[in-house]
């Protein structure tokens, strides 16, 4: 067995010598790289059917305390496709553009459509771009949104990223959509993905995210209003910490809801395969945050009833609006497909049935108390 030990030493040496071939940092030093923090995509002005790609590049500085403000460089270029524009942008800088830390993709409002899959393809195919990057719509244009540098932005951080993902900003008005999720929902039959819409104020020093866009095939995308965005987020994504203002006569109550759950099922109709109605049940828990009159804990049931009635009305209005526009951000169609054995025409049956479906909403608001004062 002498031979074995010799060959083992030889192999061990070979394994070790593999290290000698390595040169660290995948062959390019960190100071030879530029980190792209977000990408904006607009329709091109000069090229037909082209795109204008804008990159927000984080500029390196020695120490965080040296720099009072975050510093960014902006690169723009038009091209027939995203990949082509990015390739050309690489020739505009002296360092390599590193996309591995790119976390936000901002798309011009007009481009947020079902066919966006064709250009999103580039991002999915590239191995270094994260699929958990956030995607958002932009108004008036992706470039102008990228160039907003809010006063609240700290050095060495990007404000755009903090809005999404629930690590910093956790508002129920902010929808978070990941790249993989967008791809999944665009490709799936029976659900329309919803993207957050980023706007800016007139001065251009604030980012405002409280509306959202439903991705569909149409030319002019449907923008969900602030209220609808909140309902979408709270019902479907289970986000919490939001407030409801209800009015009844002279009474004004502001509810702080910290838990909301939505369940729904299809009500089968007699003699037909498609359901006639959707039975939706919503449970919300919370406390009263503000009121214009004296309240009494004993009358909580009364407030519950008032709140339930109010919420029900608003949810119904939201659902019917979506139905009229034949949009399906909740994925009712997906659920329909999921609860029946597959047939060839299952989705077309659903599409025909959806406009006539009736919504039956029951809302159960369970207030825990009137807050710390009565």
């Amino acid at each position: 067995m002498k031979f074995l030990s010799v060959s083992k030493w030889l192999m061990a040496f070979l394994c070790m010598s593999g290290v000698l071939l390595q040169s660290g940092c995948a062959f390019k030093d960190i100071d030879k790289r530029l980190f792209v923090s977000s990408i904006g995509i607009d329709p091109a002005e000069h090229i037909e059917n082209g795109y204008k790609v804008t990159m927000k590049v984080a500029l390196p500085f020695g120490a965080i305390k040296d720099s009072a403000k975050p510093s960014f460089a902006y690169l723009s270029r038009e091209g027939h496709s995203i990949g082509e524009a990015i390739r050309m942008l690489e020739t505009h800088v002296d360092k390599i553009l590193e996309l591995g830390h790119m976390k936000t993709i901002i798309v011009h409002e007009k481009l947020v459509r079902d066919d966006m899959q064709s250009f999103m393809d580039y991002f999915i195919r590239r191995g270094d771009i994260q699929l958990i990057a956030y995607v958002a719509g932009a108004r008036p244009s992706a470039e102008s949104i990228l160039k907003v540098e809010p006063n609240t932005e700290a050095p060495a951080s990007v404000a755009l990223i903090n809005f999404f993902g629930g690590t910093a900003n956790d508002s129920p008005y902010v929808v978070t959509t990941y790249l993989f999720q967008l791809r999944r929902d665009i490709l799936s039959e029976g659900i329309d993905p919803v993207l957050p819409l980023i706007e800016t104020n007139e001065k251009g020093d604030e980012l405002i995210v409280n509306n959202s866009i439903v991705v569909d095939t149409r030319e002019e995308p449907i923008v969900l209003s602030t209220i609808h965005t909140k309902y979408y987020n709270s019902l479907l994504k289970g986000s919490n910490g939001f407030t409801y203002l209800i009015r009844d006569g002279g009474l004004e109550l502001l509810l702080n809801i910290n838990q909301s759950k939505m369940k729904y099922k299809f009500v089968p109709s007699k003699g037909s395969v498609v359901p006639s109605a959707i039975d939706m049940h919503i449970v919300m828990k919370g406390t009263i945050g503000e009121a214009n009159k004296d309240l009494s804990v004993a009358k909580l049931d009364e407030y519950n009833r008032l709140a339930s009635k109010d919420v029900k009305q608003k949810v119904l209005q939201f659902l019917t609006k979506m139905q009229e526009e034949s949009l399906d951000p909740f994925g009712f169609g997906l659920r329909y497909r999921a609860t029946r054995l597959h047939t060839e025409e299952i989705f077309t049956t659903w599409q025909q049935a959806y406009p006539n479906i009736e919504f039956k909403v029951t809302v159960d608001v369970k207030l825990q108390g009137t807050g710390t004062i009565e």
């Binding site: 083992k8 070979l14 995948a26 062959f27 990941y178 993989f180 999944r184 994925g331 997906l334 999921a338």
Partner: protein
Amino acid sequence: MSRIVYLLLISNMIANLIASSPRILFAKSEHGAIVTMIIALFFGVFMNWALITSFKAFPGKSLPQILTLYLSKWIAIPALFIFGVIWYVSGLQTLITYIDILLRFITPEMSIYLVIAMFIPVVTFGIIMQSRNILFTIELVFILALPVAAYYVIKLYFTEQVSWDQVAIAMTFIDNPPDYTVFSATTYLFVGAFDIIIFNSLLKKKMTFGIKQALIVFSLGVFMIFTTYFIPIGVLGFDQVENILYPWILTSDSIRMKFGVIERVIFIFLLLFLAIAFLNITIHWHVACKLFQSVFDIEKMKIKSREKISFMIVIVIFWLIAIYTTLKVTEYDLFLYSKYFFNSIPIVFIGLMIIMLVVNRRVKS
């Protein structure tokens, strides 16, 4: 059943999570994948039962030893040779897939020669270790990597990124007729325990395969099949999931650990699974190497350093084939050849069982 057998089984299941088998399953997602996976699950348990039972009479003996004792060499040599090829190819298949994944996702700028040059010596070092040391390595890697890998996989079930509606849609295709390719690809998940055809020489205790063992293998199978098939569908969506080359890479890239050490899970995930896959390649090639050696050894050659030479030849051939195929094979080829390879697995299994049946009869008579 010795714990080693379970570890071998699990290592094979995990290594296949990332390799070609999910893609083969997804390709047939609308053509009978579900029903076939259920059939294959039972068949997989049966396979393990048949294997353990047939080796029951020979504690401490490997397959080459058994065959030379009880069968004529005209049957034993070709059979061992075929098994050797099968084991080598299964290691090779994993190797090529992982080199491809490494190049695509971890070090895109690295030259393929360098990656091969790093992989093959390490694997070879594993092959020339003694079988006993390989078993120790298995245990070591499992203690280090498996808890974390299990954590990530179980974490997947509870993330909000998984859409269970999509999973349910995949299940609505349950009424389709079964498909052979899916059957063989799923069956392959269960062949890990077959490595004991060599490692049995170290397992001196008599093994049993009763209800308890069957239940363990069954539940392992259920968990792995469910994870392999349904979790990527939940994350990536059912429609057009078959268009993705490495479903599990994209799935792990889609998982976000909000407050994890790294928000982007893919890097930890890949490294962990790489460790286990590495182990898997080593085990398979070790078995293949032993089988080939026994083929050339079977007639006591008169040359002095017979072991040395057979070792050398086998390893050089392993290297040449591995380097050649890794450079040549395209993604399409890999998919196609993996399919052929998987398709041959049930046949090879039946062959092995027939041989063991004959051997067992001869022992009794």
